[in-house]
Subunit: 508 residues, 2 copies
């Protein structure tokens, strides 16, 4: 009796935090999409107040007391898997949040805001020295927090405590080993692509398509994927922002994209990518709504879903066999595009300097560069001073490109300026997971690709819903991926997916 | 020293509540404008959580302690006017909010939600009996709350405690006397209008104007009024909802309207009306941002601003002399409309049964009917059973119209179903105040009408900003209106504004 009352109270407190977080997301979304430009000051007051309230609610001493009651109660062992996982997640979050001194949290938030601002200026001026002092300050504070979290999370290094924020229980050693294997495989694959006679022509991707038509295409895409943004029962919507993103939970999940009149493919793939994120959020187990286990598993698993819809589905020949007629109807200017040439164009592999513009294959190398630098930065093997040099060397070694200035080099991403250390690995982990998932789907649903060709995604969606989405946060990511695909994190399946696909495109 | 520390702490607590309220408004706005239809459940969770947090923050015992420290401190008398008013408003709000038992507040919120829902059904089915039981329950709970508030607010009756929620310190006796005077004057005026040979032709108001053109007109109107919804520094925006409204505070104030292709005048006047509300919020004294004195004065004063921009300015011949060329450019279908006939059309006076469709003159009679009924309902002179009969009788007596069924009668408005008792008088008080303001403006700026004719509103806006908007909540409404116009609440000025205007239109 006592344990069930304490458990219910804990869940109800956690629900308040979860609901508050959805309100915060909505206010963020409004800031990016609808907010009048003059409302910046009020918006920052709203967001910092809600963050403060959220922190207070998540660190209420009452949570600690209830956890103690539950964990020392003899009935604890008899609880079910879901209950135990909820208690585990509440305890983890409570211990981590209460371990960080309030002043450190406040200082971090302040320094993040300052550093992002300086980064914007420094990037515009191509001036790393301008960025350096504040980056150093932010890094010092992040290290301080990471050292505290390391003890609570019981990780081997401070950097691993940060990885754990995004990919629970993942270790730097495991990532290093996996990325090494991946890099080896990619090198081999890229070599074959580079020596192929086939050179995809991408001019068709720049035929003019007015924003209005692209809007229609975006809606047709989400409809085809099963992410409802238009019906009278819709739980989603599509808006426009410079950088596409997804936000929301269950009943209200929104995506954004950007319509470039001379680059319609850009919005197509961002819509496919964000729809993958959105479907994950909408297909979480509804029985666990607003419970700790009722959220997504990790950033890597989240990215695996967006990458699966963007690349495994969205850059496949089968998908375009099904969707091309719709595209041509919505965008008459592409009426003469041939399926085969189009599929080659959207899969063109080419080394480049900018991560967010990279193709499916070389993208991973951009991530590996960042992971290695982060890891070594937190292990004091690299200093902030050396960052540009190390960055440029790795780009020359791994991607064979010469970085001209730090704006297209070490300052290209916002992550390090925003304090998001430990985040980058998720991008490549997502790709690797998506390859493992593709392998498992092929085993379970041998006909899935021919279904794609007739625009049917229901079996595929059901598989993802059953094996990934509806598992919500019941497992840590590696456990989830093992249950879903039969194997822990391993880049083999991803590499064979890539090899199979690109041998067809580049004819080797 | 002690008093200044306590005062600062109080202000900082009040600021949090004010900021939280802006977040709540934004989430409401999103619900009405952007929310995917399937997100209703999540939205209601967000709103009830934020309401709960707001209530907790407003009733924290610490507020009571700080107030006690301040009020018993010998330094209190030396405080300035603004400080004393802030303390007064915090004390008033704290005492009122803490006087209501939590269960009663929760029961009221629940019964309001139920009653609104039943009202919608009953109105659709023209079935007052269906509505009656829940209306009775809500009325009983509201009376219970009113009786508690009466003691805290020290009003003569429970109903006056409810009026005080919207129009602080206003009494039912004062309203009764003022409305009686107003009704007498209106009767006289309407008699003259009815016997006039001039019968304005309104067909030109139904010329087809596509939504797109109306959107352009709305933007031109807000620009002309000085409410910025389009520039890169804008603090406002215009969206579309079935029922127009204004929401927001200072930096972020948004209005909505509805574009009917066969009734372009509808969006013109709703945009003018809501812009009046918006300008008030944006022109509050910025030194008092997020302080209790930093908000608007009362619902009646708020309505005086919307009515001033909608009617005194927006239905004047001078305004249209200035704006007509812009209208014609944005809506070619009205190119042949003549200024004089247009001004007659938008000022046509006619008895009708529906308040929200009423003209400037007869509108007040609709409000008087509702005020008298509310007053008598709370004094137990009328029962819920008798409502339809009393309603229909008053409509026959005051407006000379025969109500056919209760949907166009006593069930036409949402207010009583939503627990908004004491709100209705604000509408007519707003009109009366707007007339007093028009008189004062004419005295201070004799040339204001000719300025209107050339599209210049800056002097007028400055006057309103100085005398009304920037006074914020430094005074109770009657004090404010006396300072601004030289006279307490009195319908004389409003009646002479109406008489002057309508004698020109109807030629008497």
């Amino acid at each position: 009796m006592i344990i069930s009352r304490a458990y219910k109270k804990l869940l109800s407190m956690a629900k308040d935090v979860a609901v508050l977080s959805t309100a915060e997301s909505l206010i963020h979304w409004d800031m990016e999409t609808m907010m009048p430009p003059g409302a910046v000051e009020q918006r920052s007051l709203q967001l910092s107040l809600l963050t403060r309230i959220n922190h207070q609610m998540s660190t209420e001493p009452k949570i600690g007391k209830l956890l103690a009651i539950i964990k020392t109660n003899p009935e604890y062992d008899a609880l079910g898997q879901a209950e135990k996982r909820n208690i585990y997640l509440i305890n983890k979050n409570y211990r981590e949040q209460t371990s960080l001194p309030e002043e450190l949290v406040a200082e971090l938030a302040k320094q993040e805001a300052i550093t992002v601002n300086v980064w914007k200026k420094a990037k515009a001026q191509k001036n790393f020295s301008l960025f350096k002092p504040d980056l150093q300050k932010l890094l010092n504070l992040s290290k301080e927090a990471a050292e505290i979290l390391m003890k609570v999370k019981e990780t081997k290094t401070p950097y691993e405590a940060l990885i754990d924020n995004f990919e629970p229980k993942m270790t730097a050693d495991k990532i290093t080993a996996t990325f090494n294997q991946l890099q080896g495989g990619l090198k081999h694959l890229i070599g074959k692509i580079q020596s192929s006679q086939i050179k995809p022509d991408t001019t068709m991707l720049h035929l003019p398509v007015p924003a209005e038509n692209q809007r229609r295409i975006a809606q047709l895409l989400t409809q085809t994927l099963g992410y409802d943004t238009a019906s009278p029962a819709a739980h989603g919507r599509i808006d426009e922002t410079e950088h596409p993103f997804t936000t929301g939970y269950y009943d209200d999940v929104r995506i954004t994209t950007h319509y470039y009149p001379d680059n319609y493919a850009s919005s197509i793939f961002s819509v496919l990518h964000e729809s993958g994120h959105a479907l994950y959020e909408q297909n979480l187990n509804p029985e666990w709504k607003y419970q700790p286990i009722g959220s997504t598993c990790s950033y890597g698993i989240h990215e695996s879903q967006s990458r699966f819809y963007e690349n495994v589905i969205g850059r496949s020949k089968e998908f375009w066999a099904g969707f091309m007629p719709k595209l041509k109807k919505a965008a008459p200017s592409v009426a003469n595009v041939e399926l085969d040439k189009f599929v080659k164009a959207i899969n063109k592999v080419e080394f480049s300097k900018i991560r967010v513009e990279a193709d499916e294959v070389t993208y991973n190398l951009h991530v590996i560069v960042r992971f290695e630098i982060e890891r070594d930065l937190f292990a004091d093997k690299i200093t902030v001073n050396e960052l540009p040099e190390v960055w440029n060397q790795k780009y020359a070694d791994y991607l064979g490109v010469k970085v001209q200035d730090d704006s297209e080099g070490v300052m290209q991403d916002t992550h390090w300026a925003s304090g998001l250390y430990g985040y980058f690995p998720s991008y490549a982990l997502g790709n690797i997971y998506s390859g493992q998932i593709a392998g498992a789907v092929t085993k379970d649903l041998p006909g899935w690709r021919s279904q794609l060709a007739v625009g049917k995604l229901n079996q595929l969606n059901e598989w993802l819903k059953r094996n990934i989405h509806s598992q919500s946060d019941l497992y840590d990511p590696e456990e989830l991926i093992k249950k879903a695909t039969g194997r822990c994190l391993n880049s083999e399946a991803y590499l064979s997916y890539l090899n199979e696909k690109y041998s067809a495109i580049y004819g080797f």
